[in-house]
Amino acid sequence: MYGEEPLFGLLNRLGRPAPNHRPWPRHVTDRAGWRLLIDHLGQNNWSLLGLWGDRAADGLSVHAALREDLSGDVGLVSLPCPDGRFPSLSAVRPAAIRLERAACDLFGLTAEGITDPRPWLDHGQWGLRHPLAQTPTFSTPPTAPYPFLKSEGHGLHQIPVGPVHAGIIEPGHFRFTANGETVARLEERLGYVHKGIEGLTRGKPVLEAARIIARLSGDSTVAHSIAFARAVESALALTIPPRAVWLRALMAELERLANHFGDIGAICNDAAFAFMLAELSQLREAVLRAADACFGHRLMMDCVIPGGVFPDIAETGPKRLLDLTIELRRRFAPLVAIYDNKASLQDRTVSTGIVNTGLVNRFGAGGHVGRASGRGLDARKSPGYAPYNDLEFEVPVLTEGDVNARVWIRIREVEQSLSLVEQIVRRMPGVPRGPDGITPPPLLPMDHILDHAKAGGGGEGMALVESFRGEILTWVRIAADGTVERCHPRDPSWFQWPLLEAAIEGNIVADFPLCNKSFNCTYSGHDL
C-alpha cells in the first residue's frame, strides 16, 4: 500500500509552486498532471484533506489538499478549469464525492467520472444555480423529488426521518431502509442548513469574515475561529503575540471539555440512562460559566480574531480555571466508574455502530471517530502547531470502533484536556505593561494587518486546527486591500458523515440515535 515516492517528490514533478502561499506550497498543475496525481493516489495512502472550487480573476479552478500521514507533509495541488471540468478523484478517494458534488453545486465545476453526480447542497430552492460561479443562472424549484439510492428486496421498507427531528437538534434528512428492525441501508441527505457562508465571506474585511466563520458551527466556534485566524495570519505572514497563541489553545481546550461532557452525557441519555446526562450537563455548565467569567462569552464566540485574541483572560481567570480543573477531576472520575460498571449501559454501547479501520483510513476521518477505529491522527501533533509543541499530552487511540470506544476516546480526551488547561494556565506568557501603565490586549492592531496585506500584495494561507470533532482545514486568499477573496472552511464532519451510514448498517433502527450521537457530526458546519 505504501508507495515509494514522497508526496513532495510527486508534487514537484506535477507543477510549479504558486507564489505567496503559506505555510505549505501549492502546486499548479494541468490536466495531465492531475491525472498523474489520481494514479499516484491509487498507489499511496496520502489522505485527502480537502477539495474545493475557486473562482479567481483568471477563471475557475479546483484545489486539493493532501497529507502524507507518516511524515506529516502537507501539499496542495491546483488545476485551472477554464471549461469548468476536472477529472474526479472519487474513484481513488471516496471522501471526495460529497466535496465534488458541493463544488459542482456552488461553482458549476463538473467532476468527470464522479460516481455520484446528484446535487448535494443545492436543493433547488436558492433561485440560483452555481451561486459562486462567474455568472450564476436563475433556477426554479425542482419538479422531481431527490432520487435516493435504491434498495429493493423482499421485506424491505423505508423510514424517512427529518429534516425536522424530534429533539433540539439541527435539521437533516435520513432515509432508512430496514428489514424488520435491522437497518439495511441508511442514506443521508444534508444541505438543509446551507447558509452560503463561502459566498458571504467573499469581499468582506477579515474581521467581518471572522464573525461569520465564528458562526459556522456554534459548538466549535473557537476551533473554526482559530483555523480562520491562523490561515489569514499565514497568508499575510503575520506573527501574533505569544500570549494570544496560548490563550487560543486555552479556549480550544475549554471548548473541547464542554463538548465532550455534553456528548458523553447525551450518548448515555440516548441509551436511556438519563442520570449521566443530568450529572455531565452540570459539568458542562461549569465549564461554560468559567468560560463566561474568563472571556465574557459562554461559547467564547468572537474571542479569537485574526491578529490575536480579544479580550484577554479576566484577571481572576487563571485561578478560576485551576479551581475548575480540580473540581472537574473530582466529579468526573466517579461518573466514569459508573459508566464503566453499568451493565445495562454497556449492553447498549459495546459493539454497536462499528466502523472498521480500513473504512476510517479510506475516508481520512479524524477526531473521535477516527481515533476510536485505530486512526490516531491529531492536528495538534501532526503537523502540529503552537503552543502544543511545548505541551505534554497524549492522543488516545482505540481499535474497537464502536459507540463504547468513541465514548472512551472522549473520556480520555477530557483527562488530557484538563491537564492541558492546567499546563497552559501555569505557563502562559504574560504581556508587559505599556508605557501608559495599561496592559495591551494580546492582539495586533488592525492597521498593522492592513499594512502587511498591502505590502505583500495579499496572499494565500491554510491552517489545520484540531476541533473537538477532528481536524478543521481552512484555506483563504486575502486581497491586497485586506479583504477576503475566497475562504473555504472544511469541517471534520465532511469525512465522518459518510461513515455514519456505514456504522448503522446491520444495527437496529432504535440504535440510530445512539450511533448518531456518538459521531455527533455537525450539520451547520458541514452545510456551510
Binding site: 430552492q125 436558492w126 425536522v164 435539521p171 459566498g199 450537563s281 455537525t522 451547520s524
Partner: protein
C-alpha cells in the same frame, strides 16, 4: 452509583433558585409569567424547537435550559418532540431557503392556538447571515412571529421567556435585572396576525389531516387523546376526577367526558381551528386548562 443516588436524595436539588428577588429580578419575572401562563394555559406550555438554519449555538443554549441547574420544566415549560403536541414553536436560525418549506409545514402541523417565538439574532433579522443567497432572513418572512427573544445564553433566554410572556399579556417589562434594555415586545399587533387573510395565513389545513383527526376522536375514548396531547396534568386529573380505574369506565361516564372536553377543547377538535378564529368566546375557552 449508590453513593451518587444517596447524595442526590439527601443533598437536595442542584437546581438553582431563580436569582435573588429584585424589582426587575428573574424571580419576580418567573412569578409574573407563572401567573400569565397559568391564566392562559394552566400550568403547562409545550415548546417545539425548530432549527431553521441556526449555527447550533442557540440549540446548545436551549439544551442548557433543560439541565438540572436551570431546569426549565419546573416552570411548566417543556420541550416536546412533535409539533402536534406543541403550543409554541421556538424557531432559531436565519431560515435557510432549504429549510423554509419544512418550517412552514411544521407550523401547519401545529394545532391552534399556537405562538411562534423567534429566538436569537438570526431568527429576528438574519444576523450575520442576512443578505445571503441561501437565507430568507427573519422568521416572519415564512410564518407569523408572535414574540422575539434576542438573547442566547440560558439565563437571558429564561428571562426572555418570562418577559415575553408577561409582555404578551400587556404588562410590558423591558428591563432585566442588569438594567439592560431588551427589545422584547408583544408582536401580535405588528406582524402578520391581524391581516392573516391577506397574507395567506393560516394556510388551509390539509384535508387528510382533518379526517384523521376526526376519526381519532370518534373511535377512541376522548380522554386518551387528551392524555397524549395535553400531558400528564390533563390525563391524571381526568382520571382522578372520574375516580375510575380504566378507560372504559371513563367513556361510560358522560359527565366526566363532557367536563373534560369542555376543559380541553383546544387540540382535540371540538372547536376546530376555524371555529376558534371566529368565535372569541371559544377562543378564550380554548386557552383555559385546569389550574390546580
Amino acid at each position: 452509583m449508590f453513593k451518587h443516588i444517596l447524595r442526590s436524595l439527601t443533598g437536595g436539588p442542584v437546581t438553582e433558585a431563580a436569582p435573588a428577588p429584585s424589582p426587575d429580578g428573574l424571580a419576580e419575572l418567573a412569578g409574573l409569567v407563572d401567573r400569565a401562563a397559568k391564566a392562559r394555559l394552566g400550568r403547562s406550555l409545550s415548546i417545539r424547537a425548530v432549527d431553521a438554519g441556526s449555527c447550533n449555538g442557540c440549540e446548545l443554549e436551549l439544551h442548557a435550559m433543560n439541565n438540572p441547574l436551570y431546569d426549565l420544566e419546573r416552570f411548566g415549560l417543556r420541550f416536546v418532540a412533535s409539533p402536534r403536541h406543541a403550543d409554541v414553536l421556538l424557531v432559531t436560525g436565519p431560515v435557510t431557503k432549504n429549510m423554509a418549506d419544512a418550517l412552514r409545514r411544521t407550523w401547519e402541523a401545529t394545532p391552534d392556538p399556537k405562538w411562534v417565538v423567534a429566538c436569537g439574532a438570526c431568527a429576528i433579522d438574519g444576523g450575520v447571515f442576512a443578505g445571503s443567497y441561501a437565507c430568507l432572513g427573519p422568521v416572519e418572512t415564512v410564518i407569523p412571529v408572535d414574540l422575539r427573544i434576542p438573547a442566547a445564553p440560558p439565563t437571558e433566554l429564561l428571562a426572555g421567556c418570562w418577559l415575553c410572556w408577561s409582555a404578551a399579556r400587556g404588562r410590558v417589562a423591558t428591563k432585566t435585572k442588569n438594567g439592560r434594555n431588551h427589545s422584547f415586545r408583544p408582536c401580535h399587533q405588528n406582524t402578520a396576525r391581524p391581516n392573516q387573510a391577506a397574507s395567506g395565513f393560516p394556510p388551509k389545513p390539509r384535508p387528510a389531516l382533518r379526517r384523521q383527526r376526526s376519526s381519532f376522536r370518534t373511535t377512541r375514548p376522548r380522554f386518551r387523546a387528551n392524555g397524549i396531547v395535553g400531558g400528564p396534568v390533563a390525563s391524571n386529573s381526568a382520571r382522578h376526577r372520574s375516580g375510575s380505574k380504566g378507560r372504559r369506565d371513563l367513556r361510560a361516564h358522560p359527565r366526566a367526558q363532557n367536563r373534560h372536553a369542555r376543559l380541553h377543547p383546544t387540540k382535540r377538535g371540538r372547536a376546530s381551528p376555524a371555529h376558534d378564529a371566529e368565535s372569541p368566546r371559544l377562543r378564550r375557552q380554548a386557552f383555559r386548562r385546569p389550574v390546580r
